[in-house]
């Protein structure tokens, strides 16, 4: 007589809850073709199959809640875990404070010594320090890209010295590693080293495949990878990656981050020349971003929408939105936002053919940026001014503003491709052959080439 596994054993087999030996025995039994047990297992797959599709699961939760048998054991476990929480949090706070001291100590010594300290001194082997290095690198980002790279390199060095135990377990360790490598990649991207950025982000992406990286860090890695694809002008890939990030933030109910991601995605559409999708995404982003909690982000989305409306020829709509958004700019009150306001006022005025107003705004913006040493922005404002002169047929003013821009770029050793673009404009201005198309082309190119000096300017393309 054949010994069949019990129904319980078969269920546990399908749920993967048996020991290796028991699983193996039942697997052999089934592979040998026991139709009785095959029949018995056929209905057992369903519950866990359902789990694979979270959308299906979401629907089921509310419907059958009262029918659910909840085991008593859960309360005991949850109480036990919650009791340890205060201690865990206090420990975290203490480690974080200590790490701040270590970071201050590190930043006072040269880079080589920093590496020696992290490698040789046990004091520096702290997960909290690694977290701080990543955060500091992220914060430093655009202000000091070289330092951001150094900080994230240090974080990479440190994370390899840490153990999973020191980081709160295997999954926590994998998440930290992915975050560290992704930040290194991002710092390289901002530093315009796209090759190094690709290498570092590839490591982060490989770590995602291990399955241990948490959803939140997964989203962060994918978002940084998407930003790299955007910089590489691989727009389709960037959009796909942002879609994955959106899905994760939806699962985690992080609506503000979802709004931020939609805003980032809209930038990709804008750069790919799809202004309609850009505006749709910006409107969706504005639905998710809370203006009270994230006023800067909200204003950034509004600003971009005004810009996109104007670009697409809907200057009246842009003007109306600008009217309603002006208090937000003023509320921020910082110089950069006020300059952004003045600039977009000039652009909308130009769109409405109020060229005198536009000229006054662009001149003001140009002077202000030049005054605080932001020459690249000053040059971009100059090009908008050049557009006004083209529209008014003021060839002499056009030549003067083109040559002033060229002089700024030459004195600041701006990268060659940007210089070539401005040179092409000057050359055409000297021959009085500048049309609005060329000014726009040079302006668009300078915006794209700002963080990607590898781009080449092709005036006739």
């Amino acid at each position: 007589m054949i010994d069949h596994p019990t129904p319980d054993a078969l269920e546990q087999f399908i749920l993967g809850q048996l020991s290796t030996t028991e699983t193996r025995e039942i697997a052999f039994h089934l592979l040998n073709g026991c139709s009785h047990c095959q029949q018995a297992t056929s209905t057992l797959w369903e519950p866990t199959d359902l789990f694979e599709d979270t959308a299906v699961f979401e629907d089921v939760v509310d419907v059958a809640e009262e029918e659910l048998e909840i085991e008593d054991g859960y309360d005991a476990v949850l109480d036990r875990v919650f009791e340890t929480l205060a201690a865990t949090e206090a420990d975290f706070t203490a480690q974080r404070l200590q790490a701040q001291g270590l970071l201050a100590e590190l930043t006072q010594v040269p880079a080589e010594r920093q590496h020696l300290l992290v490698t040789n001194s046990r004091r520096f082997r702290s997960r909290a320090l690694c977290d701080l290095l990543v955060e500091e690198s992220h914060e430093t980002g655009f202000q000091d890209p070289r330092r951001a790279v150094e900080l994230s390199r240090l974080a990479v060095l440190l994370v390899d010295l840490l153990t999973p135990k020191e980081c709160g377990g295997e999954d926590s360790y994998e998440s930290l590693r992915a975050r560290v490598w992704a930040q290194l990649g991002n710092a390289h991207r901002i530093h315009s080293d796209l090759e190094e950025a690709e290498t570092a982000l590839n490591v982060a992406e490989e770590l995602l495949a291990t399955g241990g990286v948490g959803l939140f860090d997964r989203a962060r890695v994918l978002a940084l990878l998407a930003s790299l694809r955007r910089a590489q002008e691989q727009f389709a890939d960037a959009l796909q990656l942002f879609d994955r990030v959106v899905l994760i933030y939806k699962k985690l109910g992080q609506w503000n981050l979802l709004g931020r991601t939609l805003l980032q995605k809209s930038l990709v559409c804008g750069e790919a020349g799809d202004i309609e999708s850009e505006m749709t995404l910006l409107r969706r982003a504005l639905d998710f971003i809370d203006p009270q909690n994230d006023p800067r982000l909200f204003l950034a989305a509004r600003h971009n929408l005004i810009h996109a409306l104007n670009e697409s020829g809907r200057s009246r709509e842009a003007f109306a939105l600008l009217f309603h958004s002006r208090p937000l700019y003023l509320k921020m009150g910082d110089r950069m936002n006020l300059l952004k306001l003045r600039w977009v006022e000039g652009l909308v005025a130009a769109g409405l053919h109020r060229l005198d107003q536009a000229e006054a705004a662009f001149k003001e913006v140009r002077e202000a940026y030049a005054g605080i040493g932001l020459d690249y922005d000053a040059a971009l404002a100059s090009l908008d001014l050049a557009g006004v002169y083209v529209a008014q047929g003021r060839a002499t003013d056009l030549l003067r503003v083109s040559e002033e821009t060229l002089a700024i770029f030459q004195s600041r050793h701006t990268h060659r491709a940007a210089l070539a673009a401005v040179l092409a404009l000057c050359s055409a201005a000297r021959q009085e052959q500048v049309g609005d198309g060329l000014v726009r082309k040079v302006s668009e190119f300078l915006k794209r080439a700002r963080n990607n000096p590898n781009l080449q300017f092709a005036p006739n393309s």
């Binding site: 399908i14 749920l15 993967g16 809850q17 290796t20 699983t23 193996r24 697997a27 052999f28 089934l30 592979l31 040998n32 073709g33 139709s35 095959q38 297992t41 056929s42 866990t48 789990f51 694979e52 979270t54 699961f57 939760v61 809640e65 659910l68 048998e69 085991e71 054991g73 859960y74 309360d75 005991a76 476990v77 949850l78 875990v81 919650f82 929480l85 205060a86 865990t88 949090e89 206090a90 975290f92 706070t93 977290d131 709160g168 377990g169 926590s172 998440s175 992406e205 490989e206 495949a209 399955g211 948490g214 939140f216 699962k251 985690l252 109910g253 992080q254 609506w255 981050l257 909690n293």
Partner: protein, 177 residues
Amino acid sequence: MSALDQPQVEASLENLLRDVQPRLKVLFARYRIPPQDTEDIVQQALLALIYQRQEVRDPAAWMMGTIRNKCLLYWREQRRKLYDAVDAAVLEFMAEPKAPDQEETDLRRDLSHAIEQLPERCRSLLALRYRQGYEPPELAERMGYSPSSINKITTRCLAALTRHLVATGLLCEDNRS
């Protein structure tokens, strides 16, 4: 963070957890996670929340989403054990040294037949695995997959094969001993 802030933060996290506790129980029950296995899941999620607290805007939603995902991963891991067991059993069947020639031929034919029922992209992968005994890294190289994706693809193919074999068995009626 000042010392004055600390108790307030702890209290709010405590409140948050008490608030989500009933929902967590429903979630675990729904996913049929045995109580003894929930401790690790909750610990991991809480630790991650503490580390990422500054960036998380809605901690309750974050907790539920994170734990739901961990429940899914839990079952994927459990299921992987099952797939590995079936994989090992098939490899053992195929390597059986005492099988007479005819029986071995039949066994291979039955396995080929089972593999043919699977989706296109699993067929060549599993054929290489069971006929040539290739391990995942060799499969990746041979089939042009990246080392990071081959495990996921292999698991999916083993999952499909397991479902098929558990439902129909490997041996046809006339080959059963």
